[in-house]
């Protein structure tokens, strides 16, 4: 009886100990020195394993960076902070990259967009999409059932009043929502750009007005208003070229349907340091809004009600005496 238990235990235990010893010996004997950089880089990466970089998880990226296959700023989630730390480990200077955030390109919430029918199916955008493109009468707009909200690993996107809104503080630009949005209305934009066109409807003006109060009707007023050639039109839709946009927010002011949204509370004004100004008039010539006055050799002044905060004067001032705040 005791043998029935003892022998198997002893045999399997013996086998296990034998393999344990062999493996312990082998791990010493066959130890391979791995690049310590991989572990260090892995430690500073966010560790969410979101795959936003295109490598299989953070481990995969750490390895790729260590052997130089991926750039130090390859992690879209960690942004500039992580890129800097990784660059220190790799001993190279990090390229400054502007943090990107996702933005939902739709303003058609429950008050603005009409309902086509009452949707009672599975509460998921992809499911609703199959049923005649969702319940909203605008076939381009946000379905508002929160597929992106459920998938976001960073709790950075929420459906508010029928439209998904990105929390730009939390957003890490990992791209999961962009990939999974059946309407394809989420885009990555530089976080510093405060102006956005909140419409994806490519129909003509009349058709847009019928389905949504805040749709782009392609009136092109913004194109004329923009002083920096940053506004273009394509498929009856206004589009901002963010490499040219200066956050002057004039387009948002003129937009009759308020499709173009700008955070006016964050609009800046130019201030001229009277001590340093030499009256060269360069800023005055640069200003497209006639917001700077003053003659040659005199101290210049900013007319606050005209200044749009585009910042062109501050860039051109040879004495660096203009501050945007």
């Amino acid at each position: 009886m005791i043998n029935d238990i003892l022998w198997p235990v002893a045999t399997l235990g013996g086998l296990a100990i034998f393999f344990g010893i062999v493996l312990a010996y082998a791990s010493k004997k066959f130890a391979v020195e791995t690049d310590p950089k991989v572990d260090e880089i892995r430690a500073v990466l966010p560790g969410a394993n979101c795959g936003g970089c295109g490598y299989p998880g953070c481990d995969g990226l750490a390895e790729a960076i260590a052997i130089g296959k991926a750039p130090v700023n390859a992690c879209p989630v960690g942004g500039a902070d992580v890129a800097k730390k990784v660059a220190e480990i790799m001993g190279v200077a990090a390229e400054e990259t502007e943090r990107m955030v996702a933005r939902v390109i739709c303003g058609g919430d429950c008050d603005n967009a009409k309902e086509k029918y009452e949707y009672q199916g599975i509460q998921d955008c992809k499911a609703a999409e199959i049923l005649a493109g969702g319940s909203k009468s605008c076939r381009f707009g946000c379905t508002g059932l929160g597929t992106c909200e459920r998938l976001c690993p960073f709790d950075a996107i929420h459906v508010v009043n029928g439209v998904a809104v990105v929390d730009e503080e939390k957003c890490t630009a990992c791209g999961i929502c962009i990939e999974n949005c059946p309407k394809k209305i989420i885009e990555l934009v530089p976080v510093s750009k405060l102006v956005r066109v909140l419409c994806k409807n490519t129909d003509k003006g009349k058709a847009v007005v019928e389905v949504c109060k805040v749709g782009c009707i392609a009136c092109q007023k913004c194109v004329k208003a923009c002083q920096f050639d940053a506004m273009t039109f394509e498929n009856n839709l206004a589009k901002i070229d963010y490499s040219k946009c200066t956050n002057c927010m004039v387009c948002a002011e003129v937009c009759p349907t308020k499709t173009i949204y700008a955070d006016f509370s964050r609009r800046k004004k130019a201030y001229i340091d009277q001590e340093l100004c030499i009256g060269c008039t360069i800023c005055k010539k640069q200003c497209k809004f006639d917001a700077i006055e003053g003659e040659l050799k005199e101290k210049h002044k900013v007319l606050e009600d005209k200044c749009t905060g585009c910042g062109q004067c501050a860039i051109k001032c040879p004495k660096k005496c203009i501050e945007m705040r």
Binding site: W7, F19, L23
Partner: protein
Amino acid sequence: MKLVIILLSAIFVNNFVLSRFLGICPFLGVSKKVETAVGMGLAVTFVMALASVITWIVQRLVLDILGIAYMQTIAFILVIAGLVQFVEMVIKKTSPTLYQALGVYLPLITTNCAVLGVAILNIDSGYNLIETLINGIGGALGFTLAIVLFAGIRERLETAPYPKALDGFPIALIAASLMSIAFLGFSGLL
């Protein structure tokens, strides 16, 4: 002649994946690209051949003599897991190129039921050491054949028009089942 029959039988007639339905996990998981499928196939071939021999020795020299053959499953899992770990270390040290090719797949095989399956089937069929080795190699080649063919099909599926609802695993499972039916044609071979 018997060895040839064992080999062909293991590859085609009793194909581990398509007739015995063992090792389905890597078959579906690592078959998106032909390249990775070949890597996985190579790793499985290597481990299966080794595991067949070692488990046969363990069975005949340890378990049978002590009369505890009923502990076969547990002992074999132990042997295979230890073996894979050991092999991984050796390859990492001796041949970095082979490690690069097999590296990621080796740990996956530790718990591959096809490896355990071939070890147990060897004993059940009463093979001797040479026959065991041939059966192990044949089974692994069959696995490689199946996974590489399947990866080829899946690569083409990427561009094939099929209903969107079947995207991903559903269409892969349908393809796998059709392959399995096709392999049924080999059953009259031997």
